[in-house]
């Protein structure tokens, strides 16, 4: 069904009402709020000119933005790996694997992410990752490799907490992806299993060539939605001092008190990451609808 795109009287009424609300909001800030606007101090938090080295460097908010991108990028990859593996396990004929995957999903979905973050940070990060000595190892590397490490992950000294945060995020979001993958696999017609079974394909061949390709085609839209959630949820790792966008925003706010400006910039930065994903979802959904017609 095609939706109407011309404006009706109701649309105009609603629109003008919203406009009034906005105007009132601006008026309140101007009159009621004794706020010291300082937009001119904001650009330096994004990019600033380093006079000592005579070059442009990223400001505090921008470095936070980079960390958020790193967390999101690796998080999406890892969460997908976890989710696909345990999603397949959930549809397995082996009871033990189903139990394992179900336990994982139910634990993650029934705990607040903050609790998971703290558990992961203090137990996994401190007890499991620290003894590995990732940070000590990174210190011994050549400056060039250290540089690559800090572009890909985090600076030496911050690696352990970065990986702890990354794992937490991936494990947490992986639980939701598990359910998406499971539902996707189960939505594939039984006939596909039977036809490939009759052709003498092994279970692995069935999965690899018949079931998973169709599953991925189908779960693209909910997966992209989950990726958006992951990008947004990456902000919770600020509580364990990962210097991502939200953490940097909070730091700046407490030191400069330019609350409104800073959070406006942070908002825009998150939107530059999530909006393209949303558009992608919309595109994928139209394409899916077309191919299913």
């Amino acid at each position: 069904m095609r939706k109407k795109s011309s404006l009706t009287l109701t649309d105009l009424l609603i629109g003008s009402f919203l406009l009034l609300v906005c105007l009132f909001f601006v008026y309140r800030i101007k009159v009621g709020l004794n706020y010291n606007w300082a937009w001119d101090s904001i650009p330096q938090f994004i990019f600033r000119f380093d006079k000592e080295n005579n070059e442009w460097v990223s400001g505090i908010l921008m470095t936070g933005f980079y960390t958020t991108i790193r967390l999101s990028f690796w998080g999406i990859i890892l969460a997908t790996v976890f989710g696909v593996i345990s999603g397949i396990a959930k549809t397995s004929s082996i009871l033990f694997l189903r139990w394992l995957a179900t336990t994982y999903v139910e634990t993650m979905r029934n705990l607040p992410p903050l609790v998971i973050i703290f558990i992961a940070y203090f137990f996994v990060g401190d007890q499991l990752l620290s003894p590995l000595g990732i940070d000590d190892w990174a210190e011994t590397l050549s400056p060039a490799s250290q540089n690559i490490l800090s572009i890909l992950f985090a600076k030496p000294g911050y690696l352990t907490s970065f990986f702890a945060a990354l794992m937490t995020l991936a494990i947490f979001e992986g639980a939701y992806i598990t359910e998406i993958v499971r539902a996707g696999i189960e939505s594939i017609d039984k006939g596909q299993w039977e036809a490939s079974h009759a052709l003498g394909l092994t279970w692995y061949q069935q999965m690899r060539h018949i079931i998973l390709p169709q599953t991925f085609q189908r779960i693209m839209p909910p997966m992209a939605g989950q990726f958006i959630s992951l990008i947004k949820d990456s902000s919770i790792v600020s509580v364990i001092s990962i210097q991502e966008l939200c953490f940097q925003g909070i730091e700046l706010m407490t030191s400069t008190l330019h609350t409104i400006e800073i959070w406006t910039v942070v908002t825009l930065m998150y939107l530059t990451l999530t909006l393209p994903c949303s558009l992608l979802v919309e595109k994928l959904e139209t394409r899916l609808n077309l191919s299913l017609r």
Binding site: D189, G191, Q192, E194, A195, S196, H197, A198, L199, G200, L201, T202, Q205, H209, I210, P213, Q214, Q217, S291
Partner: protein, 250 residues
């Protein structure tokens, strides 16, 4: 009908029983033997266990008791045996079950490369030959959704033939088709039968059964009620239930 030479028994089904988890008895003390090059047609009212019988033969359903031996290989718990048997049996389904994410050509090629380890070029030429045989040679790059039901079913037949199976199983291959497309699929099946393919067909097409089959099995409630050559069966059915069924349909 021309006289055909049958070979030795290729499938021995001995006393198999199958009860579904919901308690429905699908097959009950079912025994039959099928010779090479024989075309066996299984008919009967719906729910009589015809499809279940076919699906037990290649392990899509598990039998509860009895035995199935295919070309000397027992269909038992040994996974290797089961895989071997499946690879020697082609199956055509009522709902085609083509792989929608692959082109017609890929549908036919896939199993040859995965199961028979054929090279891409050999697999492709075999596929083209088969697709020509079923009359789909000009649609090889299309996706299943772009084909009519009859065309899809012919591709499905080509796909099943691609592994050069010793036996072909047809599970109501024409039941989901529009009437005008039934003929084109039956024609392909007739060609196969004339080439000496061993076939077991579950069907409602009595005309096809009469014309092509060497042996007709009439089933009801999971048992064989009557079996005979097409001529005996259609002209002089012995059992009352068979007569009743034929009267209803003819």
């Amino acid at each position: 009908m021309t006289e055909k030479k049958f070979g030795d028994y290729i499938i021995n089904v001995d006393n198999i029983c199958k009860t579904f988890p919901n308690g429905v008895k699908a097959l009950c003390n079912f025994s039959t033997n099928i010779r090479r090059a024989e075309v066996v047609v299984v008919i009967g009212p719906s729910g009589s266990g015809k499809s279940t019988f076919l699906r037990c033969l290649n392990g899509l359903e598990e039998i509860d008791s009895g035995s199935i031996i295919f070309d000397g290989i027992p269909l038992d718990d040994d996974k290797k045996n089961r895989l071997k048997i499946r690879r020697e049996m082609g199956m055509v389904f009522q709902s085609f079950n083509l792989f929608p994410h692959m082109t017609v050509l890929e549908n036919v090629t896939l199993a040859q490369q995965l199961v028979r380890k054929s090279s891409a070029s050999v697999a492709k030429s075999v596929s083209m030959e088969l697709l020509e045989k079923v009359g789909i040679q000009d649609k090889v790059a299309s996706y299943p959704a772009q084909l009519s039901g009859g065309q899809q079913q012919r591709v499905a037949i080509a796909r099943a033939l691609a592994l050069k199976p010793k036996v072909m199983l047809f599970d109501e291959a024409t039941s989901a088709l529009d009437p005008e497309m039934i003929g084109e699929v039956l024609d392909v099946m007739k060609t196969l039968a004339n080439e000496g393919m061993t076939m077991i067909c579950v069907t409602h097409e009595l005309g096809f059964a009469r014309e092509v089959s060497d042996w007709v099995i009439f089933m009801d409630e999971g048992r064989i009620i009557e079996g005979g050559t097409a001529e005996e069966f259609f002209s002089a059915p012995k059992e009352e239930r068979t007569k009743g069924f034929l009267n209803q349909i003819l």
